[in-house]
Symmetry: D2
Subunit: 463 residues, 4 copies
């Protein structure tokens, strides 16, 4: 998962990109980067860590120019290395360009092998580098032609922001797996993964980039093409369920309101005889509200989130692990004690965390614990950019509902059905990818592929 941002035509481009990335920080905490252009030369700064750690005033001032793109990257074990930070900036036959990518390609391996056969060298282990090689190698001369030519070669999920010395480009793959929207601030056009980034910089939302659309933003010009064969759209439904920020809007709907509707559907499908509805904060908040409203069971903030838990927290020593403390969420005993509790969460992955939460509620005196999940069981991995664990680790891939309920030590367990989930999304003008629930992959995946296909060839980088 990643977040991208771009702006053309504001002299504070680097500062605004900094703020934009800041608003998109939830989409990636591993690394952050900004590339700017003053119309002639490009400047870049990247680093490992949060946006606020990587950038300082001096750096932002040195990143001169009124054109900029930025990127935040998600932390996945093993491949967290500065070489993989984005945007990637290169020189090639088409000039100097930089690219920031959100998504995952499914034909990365074959493209990489083909490119290597042709003499390309790979310096990173992210599939995003493939775009650059394809553009550089395209026999078509204009940037636009070379870009389209290249995009037709790749398959999978990709939302891109691209910076040339005098232009930025926004790309959304034909399926529209990942979001991208257009805004405007004082005459400058803005691209962002989510509308919350527009809000933070005071930009107006114009519209979403459409699936299969390429938007070119240059001097006095915003221009759009749709060069791909039309294909059914398959927006990642999990963006709406968990990943996006609740204050963002996706395809015309507020994420918060979508999640509330998920909660309403969930209450209807899986009612419970209970005294209180408690969300797992903060991701379960909206759905819990919907559940509470629909069921009439009062909502309580039964968990307090410790805001000081960060990456600085002590690597759990054996002692602390044995203690089994739950550093991040602390129950408010008073709203739990003696109560029949409905706890609303957005997903169960391995089950260990959910199980520990049920136990916390019982330790705090809950009489009954009813677990409600605002989407169907996750049974299959995502090949389009979300870092789920492998199938084997997904508890729902190999356990029945009853087994999961027993494992969680819950009094009851209810997942929202696929139909309920889609009902909550009705009104969004787009189709959805639900592969992680249904195994129906909208873009065929090569046999034997796995998410880290590029990583297979990766040299472990010691940090």
């Amino acid at each position: 998962m990643c977040g991208v941002f771009g702006i053309y035509g504001n002299e504070n481009a680097s500062h605004l990109t900094y703020l934009g990335l800041y608003a998109l920080q939830h989409r990636g905490q591993e690394s952050a980067g900004i590339v700017t252009s003053d119309g002639k030369s490009l400047k870049v700064h990247k680093g490992m860590g949060l946006v606020g750690e990587v950038f300082h005033e001096k750096v932002l001032k040195d990143l001169t120019g009124s054109i900029a793109i930025g990127h935040v990257r998600y932390s996945t074990t093993g491949s967290s290395m500065i070489e993989n930070a984005q945007p990637i900036l290169v020189s090639c036959s088409k000039g100097d360009l930089a690219i920031g990518h959100n998504g995952n390609l499914v034909n990365a391996r074959e493209l990489r092998e083909e490119l290597e056969k042709q003499g390309s060298i790979f310096q990173t282990t992210v599939d995003s580098e493939i775009f650059l090689h394809l553009i550089a190698r395209s026999s078509l001369q204009s940037r636009e032609e070379a870009l389209v030519d290249s995009l037709k070669r790749v398959r999978g999920a990709y939302t891109l922001v691209i910076l040339w010395e005098d232009e930025i480009v926004g790309v959304r793959d034909p399926n529209g797996f990942r979001p991208l929207c257009i805004g405007e601030k004082e005459g400058a056009y803005v691209l962002a993964s989510e509308t919350c980034a527009l809000d933070l910089i005071g930009a107006n939302f114009i519209r979403d980039v459409e699936p299969g659309e390429i938007v070119f933003i240059g001097k006095n010009l915003i221009r759009s093409i749709k060069p791909f064969t039309e294909t059914p759209t398959s927006f990642c439904i999990f963006e709406n369920i968990y990943f996006a920020r609740p204050d963002s809007w996706m395809m015309g709907k507020s994420v918060h309101s979508i999640r509330k509707k998920l909660g309403v559907e969930l209450a209807q499908e899986h009612p419970a005889q209970a005294d209180v509805v408690i969300p797992v904060p903060d991701s379960g908040n909206s759905a819990a509200m919907g559940y509470s409203e629909a069921s009439g069971i009062p909502l309580e903030m039964g968990f307090i989130r410790n805001h000081y838990v960060g990456r600085t927290f002590l690597q759990p020593s054996q002692f602390i692990r044995d203690l089994g403390v739950t550093i991040k969420l602390n129950p408010i005993r008073e709203v739990i004690e003696g109560k029949r509790v409905v706890v609303v969460d957005d997903s169960i992955v391995r089950g260990t965390t959910s199980r520990s939460r049920v136990r916390i509620l019982r330790d705090a005196g809950a009489r009954e614990v009813h677990v409600r999940i605002s989407c169907p069981p996750h049974v299959s991995p995502c090949y389009y950019g979300i870092d789920f664990p492998s199938t084997a680790e997904l508890i729902a891939s190999s356990h029945s509902l009853d087994e999961i309920k027993s494992y969680l030590e819950a009094d009851s367990l209810g997942y929202l059905s696929k139909e309920g989930m889609l009902r909550a999304m009705s009104g969004l003008d787009i189709g959805f990818c639900t592969a992680c629930y249904t195994k129906e992959y909208p873009v065929p995946v090569e046999e034997g592929i796995h998410k880290l296909i590029m990583e297979k060839k990766r040299k472990k980088i010691v940090l």
Copy 2:
């Protein structure tokens, strides 16, 4: 404001103190420190920053011994320096001892002058150092006598944890301004500012230390004395309103439930014709729930809190300041747009932040904004340990309700009355200090005193 913790009789004393301080992190983010004893010699580690930044596994392992105290300190401008980090550890005629202090003395100046006249040298600029000088100078020989002798000299607010090589001591001043409780974990006694620290380490709550009580915890022994003349108690009511964590219990009541009752009272005193109740997260959450329940107006989480705002955020450059962005709270337009909004907060200090929040709500489309505050107006500073700004800066000290309402650009403004506030606290077995609302100071304050009296003599330490 500060947090204190102590434990006697667990071989993982440093780790448990680390966790305890972690749970108390909201009481102080400036510095953290732990002192341990193995029965013979004392070890200390202190540093600037969060608990998770100051301590690492290696350090905790080196802090050997089954006896420990710890301290987290609140960040106040100017005096944030390592010399002032606590616990303060000294050698003196009574042996080696360390002290951690939460509170503020009101006769610090006269005591310090007297001590200096007698030849004492001051190396910190915190009033907490005074306790150590008094103990060291006491003509009474036993530790207990010297401690009582010293405490009788000081006036003001003080909750103390003290560590000697073979004992820890918990002290709560006769007025009981600041909280302190006793817990037990597997035979080891624990002292903590709040019960949430007991929860985190899996300790059982035994009871609160009473105002005026001194608790000595040694080998096979917990012993208590009450050496002070009885005095009416005056627990800081603002602990219950804002400062303490909602999952803590104070004098037998859950802080969350107290705050909910504040919201209920507030709804009754200041109803509003509105469509939605929105808390200022997270401190306004509990009161907003009470307001919603009592008024029947639905609660919505209209503000999203950015969890990545930390001390790493760019020192706002002029550009970002001019942009007027609100990095920390982002509104969810959908739940606000076109609505008449009741926004519930715990206090208005200078008014600038509240004003900006009203504006955010209006920008997000609120039709009306009704500000409700879950306590009376703050009109006077605290001399007992809370770092309010000076009287002149407190907007309510010099402006009428109407003027404040106009300044905030709110459609209506309602503060909870003193009576309503006290009703919400009924059932707590303690009297309250309400001086910041009433100017009735339970412990007389020297004329001309101000909170930073020790700081007056302070040499600015360049960090």
Copy 3:
């Protein structure tokens, strides 16, 4: 300027490479990197700064494998960025490989343009990346053929260490501009820029790699080829005069002894009526000894070098600059006062530093100051890897000896003649490049070329 190191067949390969780079630290202080192989996969760690700063025990342990190469890079303003740190590690059609380069290519621009035309993308701004593209693109399939094929395309100065998963390769260009030697330690073969690196790890010196030779070191095998058309050799004479460490041996001679002979020649060409010979430490030490021995004028260590001057020293504020203090060298007044001083240095570049040294000597009471330089005047830049300033900045390129003498405020000035310099080098079995003194460039340089030709296309990286 850079230093390279490689080792095949010692299980402590990363530690030994660390030590080897440590001994070569004088050849580059900007960045350091090590790549290892365990026979199957490659691991890399690189960083900005000194070897001792970049590597820690944990990192060295994680760099597993018995095969390793390492690189230290010289600090030049502007292009000091992590992307340019070496070894550069890539994946390509020929497998995974890493390369470390000392030297400079003179046809980098045309090669780069050609490669870009063919679709290559450049991610660094060092010419070293060109080798990798050429190898990756070679139509010849074996590593050896592809390497030779590639090397025949480049012109200029290059000493290379290359690592494949099961082999290391040492390359010295046909002119032999930069040094490279072979050593042996307990059955493991070693490659190093200078013999001092062999000494530090306790390896035996075997021989120098010859100009135009490629050495392949694999399992139970060291194999050498000389695929280039024979060409007159042109070893960089400035390595012997200044750059190499005095305890290294070059082509069979000790660098210290060569420099001493330079001093002897200098004394004969430019005698002085003086009381004392003072070196500019430490680079002038050996030549000053030779001058003293040949002239009979006693040697004195008249300058004390401050060993604590490092990169940590305060960026000179205007105040300190105005003070004109000389932080690095301090005169010993007693050995200077009232004396006629011969000060021996290895070069004059811009003249400003030399001028300040003359002034220090006068301020310390020198009656006369006679400047003696152990090589001819520098009149032209180096295109083969030494970072001299541009011609315009070289004082000798535009000023007569008399003018320089006046500028330095010296009583006399003597440069060693080219003939004297070559006499001091007699006995070394190699020809020399003396282009910086004579403008006779042994490898033709494209018109309009300048040292930073690749940098021209460089995007400034803000650090």
Copy 4:
């Protein structure tokens, strides 16, 4: 060992103190601190590490005022903690003052016990804190009287710089163990441990502070008193042999020239049939020159010192230790091979380092190795401020010359005699402390005392 500096009356006081400490860095690398006064309030900055690491431009600018003192502290194992960094700044009955101390008290334990009995609390573990308690407690009211009163209580070695808001004071104990000199720069008076600090800031040397003298420097005033009973002086002779910088002047003589004379005496006492004289750089350079001149045996710089060895060098892993590499000094084989070598050093402490150097010389081909030491054998510890190891660890305390020679594996060994040493010092207008060679302690040391007497009470501070 420590270095002190002070300046009165220059608006760039903090910058000049920074430079002064920089020149005195060889006297202490553990911590550095500066206190300034603008005539009214005091400011301080201290930190662990080198001067260049602790101070940055911003900090120096914030340290406003035209009055300053500074201190660098020597690194000794265990007590290296920020609490012990100097100058120590306190508030007391005599006002705010700061003190920097070079030396060691011999009656620290009894004074500390007495002060604790009177109610003082100790926050550091350095004996320097005692001065502050004594001054604070003095019944005499004026600063001057209180200071003199206090100094009469302490015994041992102390050179002090003291800062009050409007004055600095320099103190040298009656024995004059440690140096202190007075300089002048553009109307501002300067105090410094060594004259090299005056040189660096461009100040003129005025004179040494005399043993037993107290110098008060205030507005338009430098005033001196000598309040102590006259006592024979005993300047630390090891300052001249090893500790001071060779470009400093002590009591009217250049340290370099003194050391050269030591070498001359050594050559006369212990001639050798040899081919070359090699110093252990840099501390043996001056004496080796003297030896060479007197003996007629040519001097060679046979060891190259690696300038990049710093605190950043890898904590030697077992592997590197087993390799037995000598990271710091590298021999130049060519000047050693086949030669009979005289190696000149300033002292032998445990013998291990000297033994390793003899071995390096043999490995580099030396035919014979003759060790010559420019002072007598060290047989007893220093109680006056130099951090020698305990008697048991001093090889000469328990081994005969023959045994040491055998241990070193040297062909011959010669220490300079006490008489020779004193002859080399003739002409300096002061008596010497030679206790480390003779066990004749000029200030009686309490029985059972040892250097770290204050440390005994020290709580281990975990860093």
